[in-house]
Structures are given as C-alpha cells and as structure tokens.
C-alpha cells in the first residue's frame, strides 16, 4: 500500500469527519492507501508542515495557502470538499452591535495564524481601519476560546458556525442576545478547508495517482459522513486523543459541517476561487496577496478521481 500523510488544520473534530470516516471505514485501504492523519493545533502551520515534508497533503484555508504560495511555497489546491464558508462574526446585542455600521470603535476578536485574511479584507471593504482609533475597530488576537465575548472584553468574536458559535450558546447566551455576521452573507466568504499538495510532488505521476485515489476515498468519506452524521461523529470521537470532545458537541458540529460540504463533490468551483482571490487582493493598504496567483489550483486530480 502507498503511504499518505494528511496534516489537518486543527484538532481532531467533526470538521474533518470525512477523512476519519474514510480511514475507519476502510475507504483508503480499498484504494490501497495507508493513510496517517496528523491532527493540527494552534501553533501548527499546515503550510509549514507541508514545506518541511512532514505531510503529503494538508487541509488548509485558501487565503493562507495563497499567502504561502506568494512566500515561495508552491501549494496547489487539488480538491475542495467545503463548498461554503462557516466563518462568522458573533456580536452581543447589549454591546450595541446590530449592523456592520456599529463596528466603528468596537473591539473585535479575530483569529490570526493565517486565519485573519478574510477578516482583514472584509474590514477594508467596509472602510474600517484595523489599527484602533475611533474611526476603525480595535482588533484583539483572539485566543482559542470565546471568553472575550462572555466577559465583555470584546463586542464581537470570530466563530465558526459549527464550533465556537455553539460555545457561546452553551455558555448561556441565547441567539436573541446575539447578532451574527456570516462571511457568506457579507459577500466576503473565502474558500475554507481544501486539500493542498506541493506542485513539485504533483509533477510525479506516481504521486499524482496517489492523490487521485486519496481524494476519491476522502470524498467518499465525506458523503458517507453527510448521510450518517451521528455515526461520523462517533468515529471522530474515537480518534480524538485529547479526550476532551463531547458527543453532543461533535454530533451538532457534524450537522453544521454537512451544510458546508453539501454541494461540493470535491471539485473546486472556479468562480469561488476567483471570488476568494478578488476578496484577498482587495485587502486594503496591506493586501494578503499582491498579484493574482498562477497555477494555484488544478482540476487534474478531481477530474481523474471522480470519473
């Protein structure tokens, strides 16, 4: 069997259910693959792991991948299991945020580590400076949790529809107390969880073939997960080494994830890609990328995988 190492973007959770399902249900071994899944974490940059040869393929968000590409790391999107973005900004009504016009002068929690790009280009489209001051917004590098909105340190925090949002709800705030801004609704959505590999590796037909089989099995896993959300969540739980994930939370996450993967067979939709690039190029004074990238994606893998 051929070895494939997959680097995840974050810790083991239902966000990556498709891969775990494919592993657990033997979809990978059916393709004669021996897959190792490496969970990520707050200080793991999947791009760097890829560059260092620690993984063959990685789950990454497109803004980060394109930024890395501009830094000289030739990452190529080979598949896009997530159709839509799950990013949103969750705000407290009692902090006085009802519309995007209320942002000025407020403190907003944002994830960095390569996840800040969509936010930054959104703010620049809104014409808000992110360097503080009355005209702009005060940006906090949000840690790993949603505490800032709970104890009033921030008016809004970044959340994912499938994860952090529910932590806010679990903490006792009700949806009525909150205003949410989905990036999708704001027209600033960028592509999330895609699969990326290095250009030079893809030039090798053997590697390409491995990727074809990998993507095929992974997509099979994703579709199975969409149909069997509860079982998928249980599989994820079994692989969670932290022992901190709870069943209820993972089942709920799986449900939300299914909404994002629905509508994708794994093939990157070019229009989504163009929209992402446009949004990133518009990143104000300090754009994420300075020129439209060349060769940042390929349909070669998905074309072969899905036929």
């Amino acid at each position: 069997a051929d070895d494939v190492t997959l680097q995840l973007k974050w810790v083991t959770q239902a966000q990556f259910a498709g891969y775990y399902v494919a592993l657990e249900n033997g979809f990978y071994s059916d393709e004669d693959l021996n897959v190792t899944i490496k969970p990520g974490g707050p200080d793991i940059a999947p791009t760097q792991v890829l560059a260092g040869g620690g993984a063959d393929v990685t789950v990454e968000w497109m803004p980060a991948a394109l930024a890395a590409r501009e830094k000289g790391l030739p990452m190529v999107n080979i598949a896009q299991p997530f159709k839509s973005s799950g990013m949103m900004l969750t705000c407290r009504k009692d902090a006085g945020v009802a519309t995007t016009d209320d942002f000025a002068g407020k403190t907003l929690g944002v994830w960095f580590f390569g996840n800040e790009f969509p936010f930054l280009s959104w703010m620049s489209q809104l014409g808000l400076s992110t360097d503080g001051g009355d005209a702009g917004v005060e940006v906090l590098k949000q840690g790993f949790n949603v505490d800032p909105i709970l104890n009033g340190q921030a008016a809004c925090v970044s959340t994912m529809t499938y994860n952090e949002y529910w932590q806010v709800i679990d903490a006792g705030l009700s949806p009525d107390d909150l205003t949410t801004f989905k990036y999708e609704d704001q027209g600033v959505a960028t592509l999330e969880d895609g699969l990326y590999a290095l250009e030079e590796n893809l030039a090798d037909p053997a590697f390409e073939d491995k990727m074809v089989r990998f993507v095929r099995a992974s997509m099979k896993g994703w579709k199975w997960a969409e149909e069997n959300p509860e079982d998928a969540a249980m599989i994820v739980l079994d692989y969670d080494e932290t022992g901190a994930q709870t069943e209820a939370h993972q089942v709920r996450m799986m449900g939300e994830i299914a909404k994002l993967t629905a509508g994708s067979n794994g093939t990157l939709v070019e229009a989504d890609y163009e929209r992402t690039v446009a949004s990133l190029l518009a990143g104000g004074s300090d754009p994420v990328i300075t020129a439209a990238p060349e060769g940042a994606w390929t349909h070669a893998i998905t074309d072969k995988a899905l036929n």
Binding site: V11, P39, G41, I44, E241, G243
Partner: protein, 310 residues
C-alpha cells in the same frame, strides 16, 4: 518533619483564602446567569454591572453570592470543584478500570511524564557532558558559558513549531521527540551550571594530593571530581526535572499537542472548560511533586550510602 504542622497550617490558609476569593471572582457570571433565569438583579443588565465593583454587587445581591460556588464555567472554581474534577478524571477512572482512557488524566499525565523523562535524560546528559567539557577545556568554558546563558533567554515557544517541522523533516514522527527536545532545552541549563560547580568543587589541595600520586587526568576525574560533584548533581537533577516538566508543558501548549497535560490546558481553554485547566494544572503540580520527591529520596539514599553526611 517538624515542618509538617506549619506546612499544613499554611496550606489550609491558602485553601481558605482561595475559597473566600471565589465569591468576588464569580459574582458577575453568577448574576448574569441568575438574571437570565429571571431573577431581579441590581443593577440590571450585565453591561451596566461592569461599572459596579464586585463588593457592591455582592452586597446588593446577597442571595446570589452562593451561586458563584456552583458555576459550570467558573472564573475561579472552588477547591471542591477542582478536587472533584481531579477525582473524576483520575481515581474514578481507575475505579471504572479506565485509567488509560483518553479522558483520564492518568493517561495524559503519563504522556507528559513520558516526554518529560526523555527530555530530562537528554537534558541531563547534555548538561553533564557540557560541564565536563567546560571544566576540562578553557576554550569551551570561555566560548560556551555565555551562550548557555543566552540560550535561556530565547523563548522556546517560538522555536517549538520549528523544532517540530525540522524533526519532521529529518524523519521523526509524532510530537514526543520535539517535546522532549524542548524539555531538554530547559533542563540542560541548571544541570550544566550546577555540575560545573560540582566538578570544580574539589579544593586545590585535593587536586594536588592526586598530583603527588601522579594520577592521570582520567583517574582524578573518576576518583575525585565525579564523586565530589554528586551532591551538586542531585541538586541539579531536582531543578532539572522540574524544568523538564515545565518544558514539556510549554512544548505541549502552543504546539497543539493532542495529548498530555499541556494539551489538556489548551483544550480546556479552547472549549471554555476552566475545570479542565485547573485539574490539569493540579495534576502537573502533583507530578512535579512526585518527581522531585523521588529524586529527593534517591538523593538521601545515595548520599548516605556514599558517606556524605546529610
């Protein structure tokens, strides 16, 4: 042993102060919850309350103070809550025969202990070898010593991801080795410093004595410098193991380790479960205590055996 009574008194006082501090620390979330549950709180609205001191809040909402002692997400948990959580994740797991389950702190403690021990081994070996080199070579002494100090001012957290990537690149899998390297990085320094002191502790007359015997350099190392440094070695080991544990946990914190006590702290933070953080912290403390105690006992035993007066 005459210290037992004072130690317990002080411990008791600390726990008492902690317990008392829970009320002011938790009054705001407690009032928020009560208000959402329909209770009348003065003043109304959590935003308004931010400008009121906790003491005022406690005075004005006396009935709700106790609620602070039973929050699901306390800012400061009570000692009992922490104890309970610790028990649930250790003793109770053992009782259920699931000591090695991923939900058990015994398992995570073991993961941390494991790389701590490797880091400790690596660090002490490096420290001792470095000390020998420094004591026997002037060049090494002059060039290495300042950098050893400087090395400790480098924030290893910054190096952690790179250590992971680099060790990945040279073909090392998993987080164990990088964590051990980080922990060795913190551990080697106190060992080095202390061993240099120890290897240099023989007086010049003790060294001269061997010279009159025409002893070789290796003989004087084996028969004098090494045994003379044993008490220093143990002091170093005790500091070193604590440093190694700190290193492992620091290594687990930002590198997104998926198991181990540092990872529990991280996960506890990510999922907003403060009790998980607190129990991991206490577990780390217990681990540190146990490790140092083991070394302490070994030290007493060895030194007594060797004839040093303790």
């Amino acid at each position: 042993m005459r210290n037992v009574v004072p130690i317990f008194t002080v411990l008791l006082a600390i726990v008492g102060a902690w317990w008392l501090a829970v009320a002011p620390m938790n009054i705001r979330p407690a009032l928020d919850i009560a208000e959402r549950g329909g209770a009348m709180i003065v003043p109304e609205g959590s935003v308004e309350r931010r400008d009121v001191s906790v003491w005022r809040l406690m005075l004005d909402n006396r009935d709700h103070v106790v609620a602070g002692y039973d929050l699901k997400r306390p800012r400061l948990p009570t000692p009992a809550q922490v104890g309970n959580e610790l028990w649930k994740t250790t003793g109770a797991m053992v009782a259920k025969g699931r000591a090695w389950s991923k939900r058990s702190l015994i398992y995570h403690g073991w993961v941390t202990l494991h790389s701590t021990l490797w880091g400790f081994l690596l660090g002490t070996t490096l420290g001792i070898l470095g000390a020998v080199a420094i004591v026997y070579s002037r060049v090494v002494d002059m060039s290495l010593m300042p950098w050893a100090i400087i090395s400790q001012t480098v924030p290893i957290v910054a190096l952690a991801p790179m250590i992971i990537v680099v060790s990945n690149q040279v073909g090392i899998e998993g987080r164990g080795v990088p964590k051990a390297i980080i922990s060795a990085y913190l551990c080697y320094f106190p060992v080095l410093v202390s061993m240099v002191k120890g290897l240099r502790s023989p007086s010049s007359s003790e060294l001269d004595l061997l010279k009159t015997y025409h002893a070789s350099g290796f003989q004087s190392f084996l028969k004098l410098r090494l045994p003379a440094s044993v008490p220093y070695l143990f002091t170093a080991l005790k500091v070193g193991i604590a440093a190694a544990l700190v290193g492992t946990i620091v290594g687990e914190l930002p590198t997104g380790a998926i198991s181990g006590l540092g990872a529990r702290i991280l996960i506890g933070d990510q999922f907003g479960t403060p009790l998980a953080i607190w129990s991991a912290l206490f577990c780390a403390a217990i681990l540190a205590g146990a490790l140092v105690t083991v070394l302490d006992i070994t030290q007493r035993f060895t030194l007594r055996k060797m004839g040093f007066r303790s």
